[in-house]
Amino acid sequence: MNQALEILLSILLLTGGFFTLAGAIGLARLPDFYTRLHGPTKATTLGVGAIMISSLIYFSVTEGSINMTEILIMVFLVLTAPVSANMMAKAAMHIGVRTTEETRGQGWDQ
């Protein structure tokens, strides 16, 4: 494996780790459920995506053949993450989870 590839992989990996961590920090830190919902749907998706791409490249290089299970995983994640978020939001609105004071507007009656 050449140097450039290693650097690329390392950057991808670290980026992935960073975004994953950021999503988790968001989940831990943000003030209410609805704001917390944003963290995982985006940051985590991207984070896992970056890690996935590095895996794809890594194995394509080391094993010399292209197997793109990672892409399929990514497709699944992208397809499902919004639906999960939607379902969880609906559940939260049904239960009447409180929003932060700053929130304008309100969820719908379920």
């Binding site: 670290l14 994953t20 831990a28 080391t62 499902t80």
Partner: protein, 89 residues
């Protein structure tokens, strides 16, 4: 270098897992816990892929694929339970 990056990444993801677990335990509401669990599933995907890279084998990738499918259904079922009671009706 890549090994170091790998370890740092694993560390970061694991930290994320710990934070998510914190949210899961902390709540306060049921949807928060479901959200944390859903995120844990995704983190688990990342961890498995990182494990695969560390071990130099692709054998674990399908486990990650499976988490992607299964975790989604689990989350949806939980959310539906919370808002609708009956998951299958």
């Amino acid at each position: 270098m890549i090994t170091t990056a790998l370890y740092i990444t694993i560390g970061m993801v694991m930290l994320a897992v710990l934070l998510n677990t914190y949210r899961l335990l902390r709540g306060p509401d049921a949807p928060d816990r479901v959200l944390a669990l859903d995120t844990l599933y995704i983190n688990a995907i990342a961890l498995i892929i990182l494990l695969g890279i560390t071990l130099g084998t692709r054998l674990y990738l399908e486990a990650a694929l499976l988490i992607a499918v299964m975790g989604f259904v689990g989350t949806v079922a939980m959310a539906k339970y919370l808002k609708r009671g009956s998951v299958i009706e």
